[in-house]
Amino acid sequence: MAGTGLLFALFVLAHMYGNLKLLVSEQAYNTYAEHLRTFGVPMLPNSGLLWILRAVLIVALIVHVYAAVTLWARASGARSVRYAVKKAVAQSASSKTMRWGGVFILVFLVWHLLEFTIVKIDVSGKGATGNNPYRLVVDSFQTPWLTLIYVLAMLALYMHLAHGVFSAQQTLGWTSSARTYRQAQIIGHVVAGIVVLGFLIPPLAILVGLVK
């Protein structure tokens, strides 16, 4: 759970970095998209590295979800008679929503991949295609309801990352003192904050017309 989680955290950081190219120029963004495919060529075939990364991420996703489901199932098995009254007094909003928030992110992920990677859905109806990633993205986010979905997803991602990044450090045994424990909690929020802010800037910039 922790290992794959941290892998995802690194991935979204990189992903976010790429997204920010959108703010530079259309060319910069499209070149970046192209570079992702030609990286490592000719040692690797075209899109080779991308597929390696995708494979790693898919495996990590399966492991992450499997571990989550196992943990969930164990928890239900460990308390078959529930409390009539039970308060959650110590959990943060973030830690409370790990499971359902995770499910939401998974559903969002499917949509996100369909939209931008697999099918490349033309949400705006302006005829954008995968040949110009920049246009696809910009046209899409000029559609307010889509941006709203993304904002909600990023909120969920913030919650998931804030607890997840902290929890991963705890699970890896890096927080064996009061000080490192507090630090880990802060790191969780900082990483989540950077990622989510970085992800939200381009779509919001598009929505308000700063990027066209």
Partner: protein, 247 residues
């Protein structure tokens, strides 16, 4: 003050239980929660109804025998054991739900009494330092730096009451486990068995059927001794090291 109590009654391990409502009157704020139950039990006995079974022994917050889920909080709203919870915490007219610890590895024996033998078995798996009586070296032959001594002591404060399990949404006993692993692992005497200990105790923990840890923090919050979450990190750290060593 007058209170309404909804208390879990269950005749035996296999019987079906239910919440039964009782009214108590003229409760003094200086009473402990258990003394309030004593008063109720005296009345039930007078009325020819069987008293409510609940565990308690030292009634000074150290033996770990008492433990009730009080309106959804392990040991109630104060950071103390149930016996140290005083009625001044409540207000006249409150409705209080009282349930036993709920976790499958802690089966209900009767009413509010549960069997916490799983904790003993976890200790049996490795929660000790193997030194036969008489085989000990002179006490001053090994020095313990202050920070290690302090942390070992803090972890050793665990009283094995089970509030951590009761409060954990996953019914995990990682705080109990982490406390023992940290207590012994911080001391020079605990080093020789350190890596084997963590693996054996964790295996027993899982075998007993406790849930896994999500680092939610409910356990530390409920812990009457304030055992911090970072002992779970030490548990994880030691486990990682142990696995690296092929344990």
């Amino acid at each position: 003050m007058n209170l309404t109590l909804k208390i879990w009654r269950q005749a035996g391990p296999d019987a079906k239980g239910e919440l039964v409502t009782y009214q108590v009157q003229d409760i003094s704020p200086d009473m402990s929660f258990l003394e309030m139950l004593d008063v109720l039990n005296e009345r039930l006995n007078d009325e020819g109804r069987e008293p409510i079974a609940f565990d308690s022994d030292c009634r000074e917050g150290i033996c770990g025998m008492c433990g009730l889920m009080i309106s959804g909080e392990a040991h109630g709203p104060e950071k103390a054991t149930t016996c140290q919870l005083h009625m001044r915490t409540f207000t006249d007219g409150d409705v209080i739900t009282v349930e036993p610890w709920r976790a499958d590895p802690f089966p209900v024996v009767r009413d509010l009494v549960v069997d916490r033998g799983a904790f003993d078995r976890i200790i049996q798996a490795g929660g000790f330092i193997s030194v036969n009586t008489g085989a000990a070296p002179e006490a001053h032959s090994s020095l313990v730096p202050m920070e290690h001594a302090m942390r070992a002591f803090q972890a050793a404060e665990c009283i094995g009451c089970g509030a951590c399990v009761a409060a954990c949404p996953n019914a995990s006993a990682m705080l109990f486990l982490g406390a023992k692993v940290t207590h012994l692992g911080e001391l020079p005497q605990g080093q020789p068995e350190r890596w084997g200990r963590v693996v054996a105790m964790l295996n027993q923990h899982d075998l007993e059927g406790f849930g896994g840890c999500q680092n939610l923090g409910e356990c530390s919050y409920a812990c009457p001794k304030g055992i911090p979450q970072d002992v779970i990190s030490t548990l994880n750290h030691d486990l990682r090291k142990a696995m690296a060593k092929g344990r």
